[in-house]
């Protein structure tokens, strides 16, 4: 199989280079048929995300000019001035498939275990389907890739655990509270990380949102976008009585919440747990408040600890992912071998049968009429016995270990030794020219 991949990613190119090679859905649909036609590809798929643009193609002829493919993609985007062929990496056959599997598993992602990539790959295959550039190999490759993605997500923890500070805060909240829909959050200050944390909490269905900001208009704009109510900045300590989660990210030279105030509030709220996420720099809440019972106070360092630990855990899952990829590669090669072996055996049989029938026909008059039936029988038996050995070895190769290289080498050797061409006609012709 002549499968090739070429691609540009965050491993090989900076963002300003990658963004020049990014292809929209419409661009992909326009490029794929041209690629197929001009670069002689039998099948091709393009995957383009903010971190990578990759082409997977099956050669129509015997060889693919990878340099030409790179030039084609650069020209298609008109990016000659900023992108060079050196920004691309290429792989072929098993290497290309393994690479796609690794991408689908999230191992190659910028944030290891990225969950979005599988959907983006699926979208790439769908666009190829719409463009008419899919074929049997790509269809099977799509199934295997999606299967890898699914297995990796169910059998390993590579996608688990928050890997951003804002999401780590939400993860922590769900370790304290059972149902966020019944809880309320107060956002103090409308900074970027605070807003992102609030967005995640809203995404997880937080029950009630309150926002306080020195500039009321900014708070109102945020509430208009995400729902909730605005409270006066001066009322924040009072508001602590009724909320469950506090996200604070204001720029203030001194603490805006003191332990005595929290202590008083905790009595008023019947000691209900209070989760405070302090992402202000310098910190907004006096750390001594964290010592009060049922008060869970975390600053950016504590949240970063969660992120680092989760990233370590994800990295620790890579061996398991590699094992899954290896298994799926074997399965893919087994399918590929079957694809090669079946027709080869058939063509081998046809080739020998052609020689036999030709020779029988040529010499049939040398035999008495009553012996001709026997001649037919004996020559057929000879052919079957010759066929038996190679056929058994090839079939065993695909059924047992599925080790592709070995089986493919046997197929190749058989084809060469007996002159069986790709379209199965060589053997016949060769037979015809004997003696």
């Amino acid at each position: 199989m002549n499968l090739h991949s070429i691609g540009i990613s965050h491993h090989t190119a900076a963002l300003e280079v990658r963004e020049r090679m990014w292809l929209s859905d419409d661009e992909i649909k326009a490029t794929l048929p041209r690629l197929k036609e001009q670069q002689h590809l039998a099948e091709c798929v393009l995957v383009s995300t903010c971190n990578r643009t990759e082409l997977y193609g099956v050669a129509g002829g015997d060889a693919v000019d990878e340099a030409a493919l790179k030039r084609f993609l650069i020209d298609a985007k008109g990016a000659n001035s900023s992108v060079s062929a050196d920004h691309f990496v290429a792989a072929h056959a098993g290497g290309a498939i393994a690479h796609l599997f690794r991408v689908a598993a999230g191992v190659e992602s910028m944030v290891i275990g990225d969950v979005q990539i599988l959907g983006q790959i699926k979208e790439g295959f769908n666009l190829a389907k719409e463009s008419g550039t899919m074929g049997p190999v790509m269809n099977r490759l799509m199934q295997s890739t999606l299967h890898v993605g699914k297995r990796v997500r169910t059998e390993t923890s590579i996608c688990e655990g928050a890997v951003s500070v804002s999401y780590a805060a939400v993860e922590l909240a769900s370790k304290i509270y059972a149902d966020l829909a019944k809880k309320s959050v107060l956002l103090i200050g409308a900074g970027e990380t605070g807003e992102l944390t609030l967005r995640h909490l809203v995404g997880r269905g937080i029950g009630q949102v309150k926002v306080a900001n020195r500039t009321r208009e900014r708070a109102e704009a945020l509430v208009a976008a995400m729902g909730g109510t605005v409270i006066d900045y001066e009322e924040i300590v009072d508001a602590l009585r009724s909320v469950d989660i506090v996200v604070t990210s204001v720029t203030s030279p001194s603490y805006i919440v003191q332990p005595e105030e929290v202590q008083k509030v905790m009595r008023q709220r019947s000691n209900n747990p209070l989760f405070i996420i302090d992402i202000g720099l310098p910190r907004n809440v006096n750390p001594a408040a964290g010592r009060i019972e049922n008060v869970f106070l975390y600053d950016i360092d504590a949240l970063s600890t969660i992120v680092d630990r989760n990233l370590d855990r994800r990295r620790g899952e890579i061996p398991k992912v590699t094992r899954i990829i290896r298994e799926e590669l074997i399965s893919f090669f087994r399918w590929q071998n079957a694809l090669e072996v079946g027709p080869t055996i058939q063509e081998f049989r046809e080739s020998l049968e052609a020689i036999r029938s030709q020779e029988v026909m040529r010499n049939v008059n040398r035999f008495k009429p009553e012996d001709r039936e026997l001649l037919e029988l004996v020559t057929r038996r000879i052919v079957n016995k010759i066929l038996h050995g190679p056929t058994t070895v090839l079939k065993q190769g695909t059924e047992s270990h599925g080790y592709s290289a070995e089986v493919l080498n046997r197929v190749k050797a058989l084809r060469e030794l007996f002159g069986i061409s790709r379209n199965g006609e060589g053997g016949h012709e060769k037979g015809g020219h004997e003696d």
């Binding site: 922590l172 000691n271 209900n272 747990p273 964290g290 019972e293 975390y298 969660i306 630990r309």
Partner: protein
């Protein structure tokens, strides 16, 4: 039909099954064994079923339910804990707490299997239906209290881990604090009510059956102390608005008394309640 060889076989098999089950739950909590995780629930169901079979066969083999001695009661208690946990696991689909709870069942069952002795001289009062209610209520109460303590213990571990920003294994595997607190609280309320029923039945029925009945019977006093402790914990929760760590500590202290009552009082201090 002589069922005693079957009883003996199950007497050995059931604690072995609990040991295996606790190991499976422990390994899948502390380690990373996806295959073990898949067999957890089936193994739990098999063990609980075998335990129930053991209790039924034992009842027929000795012609009385296994409630006539502390070690007989322990095996029923182990079964109740396991059944209670099975219900929770099937209901919530959360199996992370299994190791800690099934370890209790394993401990009670092992103690029972090692020390249990067959009894044939069963006094008439042990066949009474009222006694059945009394013992069932007490067992339900103790089971619920054991579960409450187990969840309380897990709550404290997770609380400590979150508070100290350690975010280790406990943080990863256990359900959230609120859920643990709710489970512990619900089990505690159930246990408190069931134990109350057992005490009321006992106080009304026991003086009529036992001529040597005394209100100073160690087991009765022990149970009353436990009941009062739980009343205190629940009252503090209701009246003083105590939540979380403080109430969990009281729950665990109360459970220590339960354990004391089950072991020291039952084995060392004899009274009319001992039935030996």
């Amino acid at each position: 039909m002589n069922l005693q060889p079957v009883v003996l076989f199950l007497l050995i098999l059931v604690p072995v099954m609990y040991a295996g089950l606790t190991t499976v739950y422990g390994l899948s909590f502390f380690g990373d064994y996806p295959r073990l995780a898949r067999i957890k629930t089936p193994a739990l169901l098999v063990t609980v079923t075998l335990h129930c079979v053991y209790l039924i066969v034992r009842t027929f083999a000795f012609d009385h339910p296994p409630i006539t001695s502390v070690f007989e009661i322990m095996t029923v208690l182990a079964a109740s804990i396991a059944i209670g946990y099975t219900y929770i696991e099937l209901r919530t689909r959360a199996s992370a707490t299994g190791f800690f709870i099934l370890f209790l069942a394993f401990a009670f069952q092992t103690a029972s299997s090692v020390f249990i002795r067959p009894r044939f001289d069963i006094p008439e009062y042990l066949h009474s239906i009222v006694l059945g209610f009394h013992v069932s209520a007490a067992l339900l109460g103790y089971t619920a209290i054991s579960l409450s303590a187990a969840y309380g213990f897990l709550y404290l571990m997770l609380y400590h881990e979150i508070k100290s920003s350690r975010f280790g294994l406990i943080y990863n595997r256990l359900p959230n604090l609120e859920m643990l607190e709710t489970m512990s609280h619900k089990a505690e309320v159930f246990g408190f009510v069931a134990l109350g029923v057992a005490i009321v039945i006992g106080v009304i029925w026991l003086p009529r059956v036992f001529h040597d009945f005394s209100y100073w019977d160690p087991k009765l006093v022990g149970t009353l102390v436990i009941w009062c402790l739980y009343a205190l914990a629940l009252g503090a929760k209701k009246r003083l608005g105590w939540q979380g760590r403080k109430t969990m500590i009281i729950t665990l202290v109360a459970f220590c008394f339960v354990f004391l009552s089950m072991t020291v009082i039952n084995l060392s201090l004899s009274g009319f309640h001992s039935f030996h």
